[in-house]
């Protein structure tokens, strides 16, 4: 019995041993299958993972693309910069090295603290910036002592250079290191590579994608702990694209200098095709120092300046266009059926409802037709004529000439003003349009607001008779410019009147051009920014020179030349200019800008003669201002904002708001009296 059971047991054992062997064989197959799955089917994925484990990229910032003018003159380029970085992993005696560097480069305690923090945060192979934009002497001093300081890496990099400095500040903007938010958004490691800067404002910001280029890469093999094992192949950087503008750099610089001490802007447009030849807003910051990181003092000085150097006035400044709209009004009146030869008698004032509307000429101009009304800038003529046709008949022409129009230009912030009409007022203020509204609008005050670029566009459209669209990038196609809704005869009347403004005893006689064979046509304007009370009017309106800067009138000019065959048009707006200094007022500035376009030598000679009267060119004046400011600063300077761009735009928009509120003040004056030269 026992024997049989033992036999049975032996049988059961071998049966179960076979089962066990089967299970083991199956397990072997599963393991082999898993191996095959990992090594064959997932090989690609894991190979890449292993490779990305092994190889770390150190990005070398690409050389930023140039911005050049229409003739290839650089507006923004790169200059060699000497910088010193540290590779934490290669440092031996960290404290000794830092001490030596501090001594050689004379680094401040503030900078040392920054370097220490960066060192703590950096992983072993990632360079940490010690200092960029070093001069050659200090760079050489470090280079000589590199053997004593393992891990210190002096390199030649590039930093952004703007040859025209402040003259192009608002046009091109500036560059700076990426903010934490930008890095969060883009997740591109290039943004935190030492020495990398991106566009913070202006064209540098909007053209970032084209200008940036592709970074070069230093590939290094590192261990899991970040220790550098060896350097692998290096990929060179691909410089960014060169962007060509329609700007004429020489003209741009001339305009920037010619604006002198004014707080204002000037735009010059090619009447044949709409190309923007110059777009200047002064005073401005120096984009070179902004790109290197601005000092607290400089920041404080710029943000406290009442000439708002941080705002691009050409695109963000909104002003009542004042009398500069009168030629446009004339075209609109003719389009509405007004006979240009019909006369209105100006007695100096006009009563409408409860209000009295004054002309800028106290005694009145007497009887005037359209041409003379424009030449003498008579307010009463336009009050009366616009009262007859209604402003709703004028507004479409204003829009056709570019007022209130938004242009597709590569700038992130543009303010494009208002061309009011009854529908607009009803929607905006839930109020009916009044005759007083029409009258205010007829002399470019009240609700009418425009930026300086729009005024230049208006001039170019009056000059060409076509709806030119301003263009700034030379490689974008020119847009079609359909003709204005005006007959050649009507346009001729307007141009003739604008010729008269300057050349036949009109209000802009000071703008008469000295170049033989060239005549200038234009229209001056004055925009009041304060209310003139009845009492003041009775005792005599205060002269601008006796008013504080912020209360002085804006001075404006739109013009084109040659008057008979227009080639160039310009719009100039000088904030709170008040017509106080003759050679810094709009007519002479307009004349000189146009002179430059036809006879550069003559223009430069006269500029050289006149510049010393207002303290030299903008570079000289800015240096003097900075010197004076830092001397005056005894108290410790305030905290500089982390991101200059944001702060700049805040300041700019505040400044813009201030301007708007000025204009609202002036529109509040509607019931009393509004006048424009």
């Amino acid at each position: 019995m026992v024997r049989i059971t033992e036999a049975a047991q032996a049988y059961s054992f071998s049966r179960r041993a076979v089962v066990l062997g089967g299970i083991q064989g199956a397990a072997a197959l599963v393991l082999a299958g898993r191996m095959t799955w990992l090594a064959v089917f997932e090989n690609e994925r894991y190979r890449l993972t292993a490779e990305s484990n092994r190889v770390r990229l150190t990005l070398t910032p690409p050389r930023r693309g140039w911005i050049v003018d229409r003739n290839g003159i650089p507006i923004a380029n790169n200059r060699t910069a000497f910088r010193v970085d540290m590779i934490p992993d290669r440092m031996e005696d960290k404290e000794k090295t830092l001490g030596l560097l501090q001594q050689i480069l004379s680094l401040s305690e503030e900078e040392m603290a920054r370097i220490r923090t960066d060192l703590k945060r950096a992983s072993g192979f990632q360079p940490v910036q010690v200092s960029d934009s070093l001069d050659w002497e200090r760079f050489a001093a470090v280079s000589v002592r590199v053997p004593e300081m393992p891990g210190v890496q002096p390199t030649r990099g590039f930093s952004r250079n703007y040859p025209l400095a402040a003259g192009v500040a608002h046009l091109v903007g500036y560059v700076g290191t990426a903010s934490a938010e930008q890095y969060q958004k883009e997740k591109d490691p290039l943004l935190v590579a030492p020495g990398f800067k991106l566009g913070k404002d202006g064209l540098e910001k909007t053209l970032e994608d084209r200008l940036r280029g592709t970074p070069g890469a230093k590939r290094v093999e590192v261990t899991a702990h970040g220790r550098l094992v060896k350097e692998l192949a290096t990929r060179p950087d691909q410089p960014g694209e060169t962007v060509k503008l329609t700007i004429d750099a020489l003209l741009q610089e001339y305009v920037a200098r010619r604006l002198g001490t004014n707080s204002g802007s000037a735009t010059v447009i090619d009447v044949e095709n709409g190309d923007i030849l110059a777009m200047v807003s002064m005073p401005a910051y120096d984009p070179n120092s902004f790109s290197d990181g601005i000092s607290r003092n400089e920041w404080k000085m710029l943000s406290e300046d009442d000439h708002v150097p941080l705002m691009n006035k050409a695109l963000q400044g909104l002003y009542p266009p004042g009398s500069t709209v009168k030629p446009m009004n004339g075209l609109a009146l003719m389009h509405a059926g007004v006979d240009p030869h019909a006369r209105v008698v100006c007695s100096g004032a006009m009563r409408v409802g409860n209000g009295v509307f004054h002309c800028h000429k106290r005694g009145g101009h007497g009887p005037l037709d359209l041409k003379n009304a424009i030449m003498q800038s008579c307010d009463i003529y336009f009050y009366e004529m616009v009262r007859r046709v209604g402003y709703d008949a004028v507004a479409p022409m204003a829009r056709a000439l570019g007022l209130g129009q938004k242009f597709d230009l590569p700038f992130s912030t543009q303010r494009f003003g208002t061309v009011p009409d009854s529908a607009w007022k009803l929607k905006r203020y839930k109020q009916a349009w009044t005759v007083a509204d029409s009258l205010n609008a007829s002399i470019g005050q009240g609700y009418v607001l425009a930026n300086p670029l729009q005024l230049a566009v208006m001039a170019s459209r009056l000059a060409s008779g076509r709806q030119l669209v301003p263009r700034l990038l030379a490689d974008t196609p020119r847009q079609e410019a359909p003709p204005l809704a005006a007959t050649p005869e009507q346009l001729a009347i307007i141009r003739d009147a604008m010729f008269g403004v300057i050349n036949s005893g009109g209000t802009g006689g000071a703008a008469r051009i000295q170049v033989p064979g060239i005549t200038l046509a234009g229209k001056t304007g004055t925009a009041q920014v304060r209310r003139i009370t009845m009492a003041e009017r009775a005792s005599g309106v205060l002269k601008n020179a006796s008013l504080p800067f912020k209360l002085r009138d804006h001075a404006l000019l739109v013009c084109f030349a040659p008057a008979d065959k227009p080639k160039y048009a310009a719009g100039i707006v000088l904030e709170h200019n008040g017509h106080t200094i003759r050679n810094l007022d709009t007519p002479m500035i307009g004349r000189d800008i146009m002179t430059f376009l036809f006879d550069r030598k003559r223009a430069m000679d006269s500029l050289h003669a006149e510049e010393p009267t207002w303290g030299g060119d903008y570079r000289t004046r800015m240096a003097a201002q900075a010197q004076a400011f830092s001397t005056a600063q005894n108290a410790p300077p305030p905290e500089a904002p982390e991101d200059a761009a944001e702060a700049a735009s805040t300041v700019a928009s505040e400044a813009a708001n201030a301007t708007t509120s000025n204009t609202i003040d002036s529109s509040a004056a509607e019931r009393g009296s509004v006048e424009a030269d």
Partner: protein, 378 residues
């Protein structure tokens, strides 16, 4: 198997009899795997004999000599000595526990002066022999009764519990697997295993929550969801998979592994040596090891099939299974099929105790093989 079983240089007379009787082919296979392990350790040290390859090589040959020595021990010694050895080792396990309690903190080894002995390692082969001995003594008719089960459970429970206390989940599991395999082969009714498996399925989550230590529970959790901890324990598994996967079919080449040489692969010379190997030798290296160990285990089962006594049969099969569990658990763990439980890959992973345990199993297998062949020859 026939070729391997009848291997040997034959009675040519040049080689002394006892040596000529050894199954040289299977020993050759073990040496081949062992040498391959040294090559892997040489590479894991970035192409250096120190600190691992030389050390491991010495141990390998010392313990191989020991295994060959063990092959001369008669089977009856193992049968009669099974229980005494079991008792000695349980006492040592308790000793380790007490020492640990005195020293404050867990301890797994006894310092005997010349060697640091891990009693839990010795328990792996000894539990197999103790179980085999128990079922040999047990009358054949009793096998389906309760009396066949509870003493086995006690035999198993004491050392497994002591090892769990250390805590060493990997070794405890190995002890349990070895013992349960012997119970299965001894003829315990199948329904008990099926029932046991079901009970385990129910108990496992409870065990995970109440019995395991935090770090062990963590490893199980991370095994179930490796993405939950990509930088912690899950990092081991994912980097190991990267090493194996990136090796491809033929590997990156000797000394060319980046995962191991640049320290991305943790424990690349111990538990995760398979990943180090497969990164450089690819799928071919992996297949070589599976085939090598598979052949070895099949030989072991063959030994058990040919064995004359019930003790020898159960011991040989149980020890083969122990080697199988070593390999299978380690490979599954390294490839992300099992939680990280700290079971080394025999002959490849660096570590003296694993070599010792393997060689004890191998030596006993050789001894049983020698016994059965002598019987056959007669």
């Amino acid at each position: 198997m026939a070729t391997l079983q009848s291997s040997g240089l034959g009675p040519s007379g040049i080689v002394p009899g006892p040596l000529a009787q050894l199954p040289w082919r299977i020993i050759g296979l073990v040496v081949a795997i062992g040498m391959f392990g040294l090559v892997v350790l040489y590479s894991a040290a970035s192409g250096s004999m120190t600190p691992w390859a030389l050390n491991q090589g010495l141990r390998f040959f010392v313990f191989l000599a020991m295994a060959i020595g063990l092959s001369r021990v008669p089977e009856t010694f193992w049968a009669l000595g099974a229980f005494p050895m079991y008792i000695v080792i349980v006492v040592m396990l308790v000793g380790v526990e007490l020492l640990g309690a005195v020293a404050g903190g867990s301890q797994r080894w006894l310092d005997l002066g010349f060697i640091r002995l891990q009693p839990s390692e010795l328990m792996k082969p000894v539990i197999v022999m103790a179980m085999a001995r128990f079922y040999e003594i047990l009358p054949a008719g009793e096998i389906r009764k309760f009396g066949a089960i509870w003493p086995a459970c006690v035999l198993l429970g004491i050392p497994a519990g002591l090892v769990m206390l250390q805590p060493d989940l990997g070794t405890a599991l190995m002890i349990c697997f070895g013992a349960v395999t012997v119970m299965f082969l001894a003829g315990i009714p199948l329904r008990l295993f099926i029932g046991g498996a079901l009970a385990l399925a129910v108990a496992a989550p409870l065990a995970v929550n109440f019995v395991l230590h935090d770090y062990q529970r963590n490893r199980v959790m991370i095994f179930l969801d490796p993405e939950s901890d990509p930088l912690g324990t899950g990092y081991h598994i994912s980097q190991s998979k990267v090493a194996i996967g990136s090796g491809g079919v033929f590997g990156k080449g000797f000394l060319q592994g980046t995962q191991s040489h640049l320290d991305y692969l943790p424990e690349g010379h111990t538990d995760f040596a398979l990943a180090t190997m497969m990164e450089e030798w690819g799928l071919m290296g992996g297949f070589f090891l599976i085939l090598g160990f598979g052949t070895l285990i099949r030989w072991g089962i063959g030994v058990s099939m040919r064995a004359q006594s019930r003790f020898a049969r159960l011991t040989a099969a149980g020890l083969s299974a122990t080697i199988f569990y070593y390999c299978a658990i380690n490979m599954a763990m390294v490839m992300g099929l099992a939680p990280v439980v700290g079971v080394p890959l025999p002959l490849i992973s660096f570590g003296g105790t694993a070599v010792m345990t393997f060689m004890i199993c191998f030596g006993i297998l050789l001894s049983i093989d020698r016994q059965s062949r002598r019987v056959q020859r007669w």
